[in-house]
Symmetry: C3
Subunit: 151 residues, 3 copies
């Protein structure tokens, strides 16, 4: 068995790919905050009285453009954090490099597509559902491998 | 002091238990997404116009069955991610194996019970409150040990 | 290049500071749950019928004091988990110790200030916006360094 010190290592291509794609996805998630802010300003739709006071409007919670971005953001929290945590464990199972690296790539691209078709340019279903299920499937596969390995 | 390389190791029973139970809980969290979807289809209650259009209904945000699962899901995000992150740090404090492993087990079972009594079969309080507080208490205990160790 | 085993180590001041401040912030996040509960009891505003039944009230979803704490809590999930995950990767880039440790401190204090001015004593803008952007900027800086290093 390969020691974890060799797996959590700059020399391990799988670990480097894991850190790279995880960071890309977390940065993507964080950009949902300014995107929400943009929609709030564009639609003068603020949740807090101290914010809406700047525009002399009342707090508003049902603007469809703001809520759409917030749902996309929440969907990121529900899927990207699990991906990052499970992928770290999966690296420790010493997976085949080409498989692991391509799983990270596919999952990351799927989540970026998910954001685009959900919150940037609304595309009819099943675009969003497919993008959602690709990352979910990758994460569940990695979780299965992790559970079998660490059982 | 035991080196972290010996603690983050397949040979360390505590680390293996940490990875196993963390993965179980994250998978449990991810299953809240299809459970929400199931309730959305059952109650024809969709948040996005491109989804509700399939059923020729209007977007709906107040279906009690859908919102219940979504609250349970959010509660997982609020509690399971902290558990996983703090438990990783706690492993580095080199805790007694039987204590650490049983804390992981108890917290994990409590969170599974929480989901069942919240979102599957609604059980009167204090079932949900108790399940909630068990994992919170375990996580705060581990956090306290971590802070003392790393201060 | 310094091996990761030397960076993920009790001897590394940066790693110790990372664990300490991450734990402080995660504990802070978890305290938003009891704070929400406090507001729910104070305002007799519960989301679940099995909870509101204790007070013979109907479920309520729009109490401004409860929703304010919930927004602050969600903002923590959106910012503190990314901070912790990215900071871990950033430690692996072997940053200058004084810079890294002060970045952790500044980000952590900013998030504590964010909670205070959002959910404890409401302070007019731009207090909350500034506190928000400080941690976001630190996390994005660390993410940038991580991506450059692991590319």
């Amino acid at each position: 068995m390969v020691a974890f010190t060799e797996l959590i290592s700059y020399e391990n291509d799988v670990f480097r790919a894991f850190v790279f794609w995880s960071t890309v996805l977390i940065v993507k998630t964080m950009f949902m905050s300014p995107l929400t802010g943009l929609q709030r300003f564009k639609n003068k739709s603020f949740a807090n009285p101290e914010d809406s006071a700047m525009y002399k409007t009342k707090p508003k919670f049902d603007d469809p453009n703001v809520e759409r971005v917030r749902r996309a953001h929440r969907n990121d929290l529900e899927n990207i954090f699990p991906f990052v945590l499970i992928a770290f464990f999966y690296v420790l199972t010493n997976p085949q490099a080409w498989l692991a690296i391509n799983l990270f790539r596919v999952a990351a691209i799927a989540r970026i597509v998910h954001t685009v078709v959900y919150a940037v340019v609304v595309v009819p279903q099943p675009a969003r559902a497919l993008a959602f299920f690709v990352c979910l499937a990758v994460t569940l596969y990695m979780a299965f491998q992790t559970i079998v390995f660490f059982l």
